[in-house]
Every structure is written in structure tokens, then in C-alpha cells.
């Protein structure tokens, strides 16, 4: 199969998936037995027929469900995701102002998590059943079984409030202003602006939430690294490499790690998707205005346009990550090219 064929086939599959997501998200959002009127109008305005009628008309809630859906889809195709009931801004604008914050956080979380996870997995595999192996496995167990919000709160309490060695909630210190927007990622925008103070402050505010995220994903990365590497370490070519007199570091680092990379890369890729969509609680606790934070508020106030927009975005991220991983397979694993 040529790369072109492979690419087109994968890309075409994405369309029905995204369309399906819009239907499912629309049905779920509307199936909740509560009225967005109650969620968005003050209690006392509920007696006022004019206000309610104006609200329904403004947000298209007076039309039948299928009509609402088709209108939504039509607008979506023109790049219009609607206007958020709560923020009164176009959903696309809300997303574009919040997604960079999440990308910034998720990326640093992924870097920390990968470094932590791969090192722990490596140590565990190379010194199998040693004290270090057990220690790494216990850390992994904690990372995966402790609720993230608890870790987040402990981190904030200990490193920020008590010890005072870490920066607190938010993206910047409260009295600092955001750097001029270029990418929306504060660290990068500050650097582009040559503003080292803002860069340092933005980076310091990323550290605790990123570490919290890292602890969570490093657990699974270290376990996959350990099992994948252990499998490779038992292969004949490892014995051959040692027999050739290669240094142990080359044996593990080059022959071992490289051949065990495919499952690790897969897990890292999927973890990135998880971090982008799954940091709702962390963002909330760290008062970090990213997309998860936005989703939380949208769901609790039944802000349909926002819920739909973010659901689509999340689906798109997952589909996108899977797509990229699929494409990577093509290059990493010769068997796919042959099949």
C-alpha cells in the first residue's frame, strides 16, 4: 500500500466519526431533563414570559430539536460554532483563547511525564526486581490510583502555601498582565516579546499543574516501558550485542530502547490526547483558564453551543491524535507498509 492510499483511507474515516460525534453530543446535551432557561436565567426572571420568550428566541430554543441540529450543522460547516450563552462570545473565539493555555500545560505535562515515566520504566526493567524497581512501581501505582485533584491540592498546600517555593494558581501572578497574544501560549508569547520576567512567571505557574499531570501519565508510561523493554531484553539479538562486546549502555540504550519504542510512542501519543481533554479537574483546582475549565462551566450551566463546540474539539483532538499515531506506525513499523 502506498503512503498516499494509506493516508487518504485514514483521512476519509475521520469524517463520519466527526459527524457521529455531533449527533451524539447534541442528543446527550438535550437529553438532560432540565431546561437551559433555569440554568441561565435568574430565578425571578422565570416569571416573566417576555424575558423567557426573548431568551428562547435568541438561542433558537423555540425550534424543534432536529431543526436546531440542522441549523447548528449548517453554521458549523461555515466555520460558525455559535455563541456561548454564558460568555456571550463566539464559541470559536472562546476556544481559541483557552486552547493554547491547555496545550501549553499538556505539553509540559507530557514532557515531565515522559521523562519521569521512561526513566522509571528503564530503571525497573534493567534492574528488575531490585529495590529501585519496586520503588518505581510503587510511584507508578500512586500516580495511577491517587485521585488527581487530591494530588493537586496536596501540591498546592505543601509547595505553594506552606513552603512557598512554588507558584500558585492561575497562569500568571494575579497582578501581572498577559503578554501580547501571538500564539496564546504565555511562555512562548513572552519569549517572542523578549519579556523574561513574564516568561519566568508563566513557566513557574505551569510547574505544579504540569507535575500533577505528569505523575498521572508517567504511571502508565513507566509500566509500558518496563514490560516492552523486558520483552526486548530477552531477545536473541540482545545476547548477540553483548557477545560482540558492546558497552552495556549501548546495548540497552541503542538496541534495547529503540526496539521497544513502538508501544511506548503509542502510549505517549494517546497520553497527550488524554492530557489535552482530561485536565478538567486540574485546571479547575489550579484556577487555570484552559479548555477543561471552560468545559466544566459549560456543562454545569447547560451552555449548549459551548458544550457542542468543546465536545467537537475533544473528539477532533482524539481523532487527530489517533490519526497521527496511525501515520507514525506507517513509518515506524515496516510490516504496515508491506501488508
Amino acid at each position: 500500500m502506498s503512503f498516499f492510499h494509506y493516508f487518504v483511507r485514514r483521512a476519509l474515516l475521520v469524517i463520519p466519526i466527526l459527524l457521529g460525534i455531533t449527533v451524539v453530543a447534541f442528543i446527550i446535551a438535550n437529553a438532560i431533563p432540565a431546561d437551559p432557561i433555569n440554568a441561565n436565567l435568574p430565578p425571578n426572571a422565570l416569571n416573566d414570559k417576555d424575558t423567557i420568550a426573548a431568551f428562547r428566541k435568541k438561542w433558537g430554543l423555540d425550534k424543534p430539536l432536529h431543526e436546531q441540529y440542522l441549523t447548528y450543522l449548517g453554521n458549523l460547516l461555515q466555520g460558525d460554532m455559535g455563541t456561548s450563552i454564558k460568555t456571550r462570545k463566539p464559541v470559536a473565539e472562546d476556544i481559541s483563547s483557552r486552547l493554547p493555555a491547555t496545550i501549553e500545560l499538556a505539553t509540559l505535562g507530557l514532557i515531565y511525564g515522559t521523562v519521569l515515566g521512561v526513566s522509571m520504566g528503564l530503571i525497573s526493567a534493567v534492574w528488575k526486581n531490585s529495590l529501585a524497581d519496586y520503588a518505581a512501581r510503587v510511584i507508578a501505582l500512586i500516580g495511577i490510583s491517587f485521585p488527581v485533584f487530591l494530588i493537586a491540592l496536596i501540591f498546592l498546600n505543601v509547595f505553594y502555601a506552606q513552603l512557598g517555593i512554588a507558584a500558585g494558581p492561575g497562569r500568571l501572578h494575579p497582578i501581572m498582565r498577559s503578554p501580547p497574544t501571538v500564539t496564546g501560549m504565555f511562555t512562548i508569547d513572552a519569549l517572542l516579546n523578549g519579556d523574561w520576567k513574564t516568561f519566568g512567571n508563566a513557566l513557574s505557574h505551569l510547574i505544579l499543574p504540569a507535575l500533577t499531570l505528569a505523575l498521572y501519565i508517567s504511571a502508565i508510561i513507566s509500566r509500558i516501558t518496563r514490560s516492552s523493554l523486558l520483552e526486548v531484553l530477552n531477545q536473541d539479538y540482545m545476547r548477540t550485542a553483548r557477545a560482540k562486546g558492546l558497552h552495556e549502555r549501548t546495548v540497552i540504550g541503542f538496541h534495547g530502547m529503540r526496539n521497544s519504542m513502538i508501544p511506548i510512542v503509542t502510549v505517549i501519543g494517546l497520553s497527550y490526547g488524554n492530557l489535552l481533554v482530561g485536565s478538567i479537574l486540574i485546571e479547575r483546582i489550579f484556577a487555570y483558564p484552559g479548555i477543561g475549565f471552560y468545559m466544566f462551566r459549560a456543562s454545569t450551566s447547560q451552555d449548549f453551543p459551548a458544550i457542542m463546540g468543546v465536545s467537537l474539539l475533544f473528539a477532533f483532538i482524539y481523532v487527530g491524535v489517533n490519526f497521527v499515531v496511525d501515520i507514525l506506525y506507517f513509518f515506524l513499523d515496516p510490516r504496515i507498509r508491506i501488508a
Partner: protein
Amino acid sequence: MNRFKYIVALLAVLALLIGAFAGLAQDEKVLVIGWSENTDAYDPANGFTHSTHIVNHVTYSQLVTFPDEDASRIVPSLAESWEISEDGTVYTFSLRQDATFADGDDVTADDVVFSIRRLQNFKGNPSFLADGIDTVEAIDDDTVAFTLPAPRPSFLSEITSAVFSVTNADVVMANGGTAAEDAAETDTAGAYLDSASAGSGSYVLDLWEPQNRTELVRNENYWGDAPYFDRVIFIHMPESATQKVALEAGDIDLAFDLQPDQIAALEGNMDVEIYRGIGTLTHFVIMNTDAEKSGPFANPTVQLAVRYALDYEGYKTLWGGVKPATNMTAGFFGNLGEEAAFSRDLDKARELLAEAGYGDGLDMTLEYPDMVYSGVSFNTNAQKIQADLAEVGINVTLQPGEIQVALEKYRSGEHGVGYWLWGPDILDPLDFLSFMPPGKVATERNNWQLESLPQDIQDMIARTKVASDPDERMALFTALQEYTMQHGPFAPFNVPEVATAYRSDLLGYIWHPHWLLDVSILSRAM
């Protein structure tokens, strides 16, 4: 493997960065508030949330207002005096001569007329508040007259609300605003007024990033006393635990939404001061007067037994505050007060139940929203109600519901027995009529019909709506409250205290029952 060295070096640099930027010098006098923002809009004609009012209270001025510390009386603001017509339907206000908007324009009667008409025609979230105004006319530049359809003694209290803020008509119109009848469709000033203010308050709205931050800067043209802080920053921190750590670390000056256990944990912290006051939220049990919905609990004798069975002191131990006698908000003019409230009397409750034919016990399903509101847990209270009522033979099954779902059932009057809270719509005793037929809670939500009341009580309700003489009002409110205590379908059991924690160098903090927080009266110790 040099890569490992690089990684170690990288981590070391990152670790250094952690603490490097903790202290930031500042020249401006800045106040930082941590709150859970629920702003729907800062446009006065469209916003109707606590956080909207906290901001608009200082970015705009109204005709009249309350004193800084309570809601006991009406004091002048943009209006320096006012007259009420004999029949109580026309209010004529004289505006101060020296009041200007933040851009230097004079505040005129035309601005008042524009603001009120825009509020009415915009049909935004708070517009219903202006339904009770027939006309508003400018008599001359500094005089404006409001006509009401019928006398309404609560009118002045109503217009203290930031909803009745006077906006600069020229600025609003220049940004797409209109007060015309079709304003609901044609007014496009919302976007402007959500990012800037067009008022005459002590501050100006400088920035709003929804669900993130709101910034105010001092209004240099303010006609009143200049506030202490140059800039006020509100940071959205939805988790109260986050507010607590940020307060301890000193990054915020005031944590607005702490829960009682978090307040307790801050006691003894030298850097933190705690303010306690009486709140305005009444927690109550509501028993549907329609027997098809609530069964035996539609019976007034059973309802009275429930009032005798609740352990009022216990709720006070849990949440502080006061024991309410009725659903009239604590501290209001005419409130019967704690002395008149029920005390727990289990024998009396059992006796009443036996009298109603339920001496062998009965079942109740208690519906309530599964939420924590202002730090008070509905689950905790519901479990306590369950335990309290068990002692008189009422077997309670708890039925917590998702807030929106439960609210729907409550508002449509479909519940049987429920547990809810009430915060007053207006800071006037007239608000109590919501709990008397044909008021909203009494009739719409609980099917309590006016016809079921004795004629003299019906007459009193009608009279209360128009009476403005303080002595007469006092007598009427007393009689109505006493009636509901004996015959009403409500069992109010607690008005939790409000507690706010702030850095101890912050001066002048007062919790206000109406606008909750006034940042313009705060300052910092030198």
C-alpha cells in the same frame, strides 16, 4: 550517555525557576480578590448575578442606595432628594448637580430615563425588575419622575439594585445601544458594556476575561470620595480550596467563597482576619399543600408538628447564624426575630401528629438539590432533618437530585416535601409576600391558594402590598408572620452566618446584605 546530564540540568533550571519569581514589586495600590465568578454580563441591563452586582455597584451609581454597613434605610446617591405623591404612585427625584460620568459628562435626567427604558426594553436577565414601573420621564435636566401602576412601598429599596444603574446614554448609544421598544432585537451595546463601563461609580471596568479575571481602575472623575485602591483585580478561582491556599500564600487579599471548615482552619493564622455576619439565605422545608403531591404533609397540623420537631439549635451549631421564626429574611424591618421562633418540643410534635391521626408514624420523601451553597451542605442538613423527624415517628427517605432537575420540579410545584433555600429578591420586608398566597413560592411552587385563607388574612395581604406607614406595616407583617407560623406549609430552620477571610492588613471589610462586597471602602494598613 550525555542525554541524562542534559535532562538533569534542565530539571535543575526548572526547579530554580519555581521560586524565582515569587516576590513582585508593585507601585500601584492593587487589591486582589479571589472569587468564584458567575458573571453573566456586566451590562447593567443584562447581568444578574452576585459577581455582576459586586462590580456594577462600584462602576455605576444609582439614584438611591443603602448605607455602607446595612440595608436599614435609604440614603441619597445620584438623587439628592425625592418626593412621593400623595397616592404613593409617583416618585420624583432631584439629581445632584456635581455628579459626572467617568468620561466627565454630566449625569442628567435624560441618562436616567434612557437607562430605565433600555433596561425595560432590552428584555435581559434582570429586566423583569423594571416591570413595575409604568413610565419614567425627565421633568427638566435634573429632575426625573417615575410612575408606578399602584403604590409599592418597596420601590426605593428595589432601585438601589445595580440593575438600576444610571448609564451614560451618549456612550451607550455610540456603542450600539438603544432604549427603543425593539431594544431586545436591535441593541448591540452588550459587547461594549461587558468590557468597559459607562457609569459614574468610583471605579471603571478595565478588563473582563470571562471565567478568568475582571479588572477595575479608579475613576479619576468620581464625584464622591476617592477610593483607596488604584486597581482592583478579581481572579476567578472556582474551588474554594484554591482560594484558601492563595490567601495563605498572600497572592490574594480576600477569599470570597470559603466554606465553614476552611474558615475554621484559618482561625489562629496571624496573617488572616475573619469577618462573621448574619447572612440572608433562609434554609427551609417546604410541604406541598396539594395532598396529591405530599399526602399527609398537606395537613396543617402535620406541618406544625414538623416545625416543633426540628432541632433548631443543632443547625445553628453546624452553620452559625440565626434561628428564623418565619421565611422573612433575618434583619428585615418587621421580622419577628429569634425570640419568637420555634423551639424544639418533641412531645408537642408527637401530640400534634396523634391529633392528625398519625400517632403510629408516617413516611416522608424529602427532595432537595445535591449541592453545597455558600458553604452549606444540603446533604448534611437533609440527613439532620431525617434524624430530627425520626424522633417523632416520621420516617424520612432522602431524595437528592441534580440541581437543575430538582429545581425544575420545585419551580413547577410538582414536589411533595422539599428542602430549599431563599435569598430575598428585594431587601424589603415586602419580599416576605413570596411566602404568602398568591406569592411565588406559596402558590406557584407550593399550591397554597389565596381562597384557602381566612378573609381577614386575605385582606391583610392586600393591604400590606400598598401600606407605607411604618406602624401599620409593622402590625401587618407581625400578624402575617404569626399566621404562617401556625398555619403555613413552611418550616424555616436556619439562616447560616456568612464568614469571609482576608489578609489582616486589609482594612474596612464589611459584608453587605445587598451588594455583598464594596471594594471602594477597603484600604490597606501602612
